[in-house]
Symmetry: C3
Subunit: 501 residues, 3 copies
């Protein structure tokens, strides 16, 4: 970034102390300058795919790339980009101005032992991934490298970048490069390099964080595991419940064959219930956290870890709830193109004609069906707005107040609409004893419990006396001061609650 | 960003003038260098939540953080991140290399008066938010601070960042930091700091812009207010119209009970009309602007402010139109799962059997319904493409020509399809006197007026003579030169018209 | 970025060699410093729209802007932002610290010939667009400029930025600025300038790339052309096939009038087939590439160019397939609100009553319709997840493993579900001779061929012996070493296959 415009006058100023000649010398001088000012040579130890792509990227960013191999004469020249300098490992380490990449597998690190002298004082970038999840006895690869080269400054980074991203640059969006290291100065050099190569470096602190960085590319959706597991288990339980009550028991008792409902109707019914319960699960932990803060009278005490974990999974739970709600909507809209719907209708027409009823219109039924459809559609619409604002590019353009309005205000609106959707749907069934066959309540009654609990809890927190006390606590007020400062405290998590009240 | 790689040789060069020793001195020297080159200590005045989060972020980015409190001995050590140095306010201001954050409420700024001497020449960053919207007599907080410390360089910034974002870094996307200030040099220091902390600084110019920055976090969707209000009023008016014509008057006159239509059918009908009118409102101001430019013969005269405002709200109007269109589509697809649909069908079957009509097929009806469904679906599809390209991450990847094609070309295609959808839907009703009961035209005729006006206007601008003249004007050509240069002119707004013609 | 914080002590250190005075001199000194350290003056040759917007942006970023015109006295002062200095072209070029923008049309470049002496050693930024696609004999505008000013350093850039984006800054997202040039040092100066103006510079290498940059704003969706053409041709062919088999031949032979199916039913049927075939086309080239790599025993040989091209268009094909699938879903959900559906149902009811069949339920039909709907809905849901992860802001937040899981794992899951959807739909029809009227197989049989081929191909590659050999090859292993290093090799393309295997 820096370099060009500003450096020249400065350098000239300081060198004018010695020499006053102009003209011919000027040109020589600029060449000298260019060497100093131009992007410095970078060393790469190793000659695999990553090394090749890295050298191409470095060259494109205006650096010299010294690729160090144990036997440079045997390297296939054609595989490396034009301009890359294929040298011995020692030459690469020596020639590098400051930054040297260790682009080899961790199990070959010992082969670098001879270079300890030339690597002293240099910044050694460890680009390796972890072999597997779970910390080994020796710590991370980067920490092992740092122990091997105590006189070099080891910086972890670039491992989350693929060889492909290196070659194409960050042309198609922001590619983040996670970086950590113990020496701020060395880290800054790597940060600068990453910037110049078109990446967005993110500093994660000291080398202790390197294990997490090494494991990052191995983790598949770590934040989604819990929420997906919860949703799937919920689905299986409710599907089983629905199967037993609606299909199995009627078959066993009356020999009624409802098995045709399994692929679509039972799935659809279950999806509604899952969507409602997971949506309630999004807002329940916020209420629990608020209750804890109110009873403790301070926000400066950690929540139990299960609550932290739950609070952290709310976005994922919300998106899964939206997914289920959309599937439920699509299923419902397909109900009328099913053969089953056609046959039912034809048979009903036959019966109506045979019974000679000219008009089968039931005003109350019509109202109920239209009301629950409207509530459902509007609820889905609000959930869709929530889902859209959870897209990174949209969410990042919102300020704090807008984000809170969307996530908390619209979220509770969606929950209310969804509860109304279900109430209108099941109102008369809920109070007819026939719906409680086999001593089991209908599925929708089961699904309503948690959402209603959340709505009641929200209403209980609404009176001004509680709300203002909570707001005070969240601004840092404490009910009983002074208190001994807690020892091992992380403020981060508790603050998160403020986000969605 | 800069620092590491290039600084070292430079510094060495200039100091070699004095000393030629190597070895032992070298090491001492690098330590000295490190102190200078390493990220410099940053001061923070105040010890609240923001101060805590800020110090954590600064430490993670390799800075020293000097947290200045009026009474550092009473600070709860455990609440601050390890490594933060808790000192007096004076020590924090003195110890800071250059940048000092004023992380206290604006009403406590007077408590800093004693520090005027140590803050002289430093960069003082005002991170406060406005108390409310609407400029006070004293200007912004930052301007007040600048008056209090005339010898410091006040830079506004970081107020749009929440404590939570500070702690987690910009890990989940780009977080913009709005910055302004009068001293370019000081601003550059803050810009650099923001970059290093993982944020994306956006320079908004001189300190006069600070009020807008202070108010930014208070505004909730400022650009959405007008368009949402327009859409809601339009909906209420058209819903009322539809209610009167379709439900109230038939009830009053013939006692016909159509009230069951209110929750779903009337809403659905109204949504279509609202979607069409708002879509027309997206393209009308562009036509008006083009007309104005043509009649004025220049693009260098400002539009009236209502037109500027309208031009600025087109994206929002378009998205609201899309929202209404999607709701209309979902409502329509739910029409056949309503109880009302079932009862109507059964009664129709009864009547058909009783009247003994073996085939009720009406070829023209079938064609009409299929054609309007197809037009509607395709129109919705095109609108969906428009909505997707208005996502920041998608829109930013388009070049100018692509953006124009999508917004203008596809936009008019959508409008045409939507008009055809409505024409096919209401063609025969539009000309039957029965549809004009109570001297009121049907809703869809009302909704067609504005879209047709826009389409006709677009066609009128299409002939080459007008189109090429308009293109010339937009490239800067003026029909009557020379003309007196206007005095207080903003080119920005007029240029925007070029975007969507 | 850099500048502020760190420069001051350094400069002071070097100048303390000469002078030891403090106090009064200090102040003078800082002014001198500020001039050097502050953002340097930038020259702009030309006075059109781009020049105006550029000067505004430069001023907002803290630079001085020297706008050079052939006749500065005739410039309308009011059109330029306050602070812009309107001077002669020579003064602008001389006054610029380092960077000079050539903001005039390429056909006027010759008017700069006189400035050759003052532009020597400066960085000359060419911001022009190409006149048309297809390389002229003289190469790019930037290359022509470089030949005209051999002593200046020409850098291409900023042409992809519109005047509007320049004025508003990159406030609404990341705006990339493509840059190229032969002198790394000069390029770095422009990169730095772009950063400071709030843009994201992307370095595309040496000046040879300038033609591509100049043509970038002219290209409309270059990567979409092939995939869209393929999809449209496929649609036309299959629509024609469907028209002949379902409408034309029955009419010619039996006089049956099925023309009403054309606008909706035939389109819907065709869309399903197109969605399936294009989805198969997304995964076919990956299989072909894997087969090639297996048979060649190395990944270090280029694929034929048609395969490269096909591999590069997979994302677009996938999104078009998703678009068709969504349209098909919406069409299908609208099937039951068609008049045709109503009339068919009424006639069926009439026939059932007349034939006196109390129950027309067909268990197998019910199962089949529910199963194919379920498979279709789930397949569409999986495709939707794929489409969402192809949004830049979402895709960029995935790591390599997650991306592979989504694109390859979920992709094949979607393909399987879609094939099952079609199999359940057409199972009994597929084997009834009546479906093969006019010796033509039904459309869905035709559409199943390619997806089934892909699924079979995937299964053939699954056995461990082949899969592990392929994995080895993709990690760089080669079956026959040593081999002569190929001469003109591009590694980039072959690597891409790894992404989705």
């Amino acid at each position: 970034m820096f370099i060009g415009g500003m450096r020249a006058p400065l350098l000239r100023e300081s060198s004018q102390v010695e020499e006053e000649e102009e003209g011919e010398v000027e040109v020589l001088h600029s060449e000298e300058e260019a060497r100093h000012r131009g992007h410095p040579p970078v060393g790469i130890l190793g000659s695999g795919d990553f090394s090749r792509s890295l050298s191409a990227r470095l060259l494109a960013s205006g650096h010299r790339a010294l690729v160090g191999s144990r036997d440079p004469s045997r390297l296939p020249r054609g595989l490396f980009p034009q301009g890359a300098e294929l040298v011995s490992q020692r030459e690469a380490a020596e020639g590098a101005d400051r930054v040297v990449f260790a682009a080899l597998f961790p199990e070959h690190y010992h082969s670098l032992a001879d270079l300890r002298d030339v690597l002293a004082g240099k910044v050694l970038v460890d680009v390796s991934n972890a072999d597997g999840l779970g910390c080994g006895a020796e710590g991370s690869n980067a920490q092992r490298l740092a122990r091997m080269f105590p006189q070099s400054h080891v910086v972890k980074g670039f491992n989350v970048v693929s060889a492909w991203a290196l070659q194409t640059g960050a042309h198609d969006g922001n590619r983040q490069v996670l970086i950590c290291g113990d020496c701020p100065d060395s880290k800054a050099a790597v940060v600068q390099l990453a910037h110049r190569m078109g990446f967005t470096p993110v500093d994660l602190g000291c080398l202790g964080a390197s294990r997490a960085i090494e494991e990052a590319p191995l983790r598949a959706f770590p934040s989604w595991r819990g929420p997906i597991l919860t949703t799937v288990l919920l689905f299986l339980f409710l599907y089983g419940y629905s199967f037993m009550k609606g299909v199995l028991f009627p078959y066993l008792e009356h020999g009624r064959n409802n098995f045709y409902q399994l692929p679509l109707e039972t799935v659809n019914e279950t999806l509604t219930a899952v969507a409602m319960v997971t949506l309630a699960l999004v807002y329940l932990p916020g209420l629990l956290a608020a209750g804890l803060q109110l009873s403790r009278g301070t926000k400066y005490r950690r929540f139990p870890s299960w609550l932290d974990c739950w609070l952290g999974g709310r976005k994922q739970l919300g998106l899964l709830s939206f997914l289920c709600a959309v599937l439920h909507a699509v299923y419902s809209m397909c109900l009328s193109i099913r053969k089953a719907a056609k046959y039912s209708l034809l048979n009903a027409a036959y019966r109506q004609v045979k019974a000679d009823i000219p008009d089968s219109w039931v005003e109350q039924s019509v109202w109920r069906s239209d009301l629950y459809l409207t509530c459902g559609i509007l609820g889905l619409g609000v959930l869709a707005l929530l889902a859209i604002t959870s897209l990174p590019s949209v969410g990042n353009s919102l300020n704090w107040r807008e984000f809170t309005f969307v996530q908390s205000g619209l979220g509770y609106a969606a929950l209310t609409l969804v509860v109304m959707h279900t109430l209108f749907f099941g109102w008369d069934m809920a109070f007819s004893p026939g719906s409680y066959s086999y001593y089991l309540p209908p599925l929708f009654v089961l699904a309503l419990v948690l959402p209603c609990v959340v709505l009641v809890g929200r209403v209980l927190l609404a009176p001004p006396c509680l709300a203002s006390r909570l707001a005070k606590i969240r601004r840092g007020w404490e009910s009983k001061r002074p208190r001994p400062p807690p020892k091992d405290q992380e403020v981060g998590i508790t603050d998160r609650v403020i986000a969605d009240g």
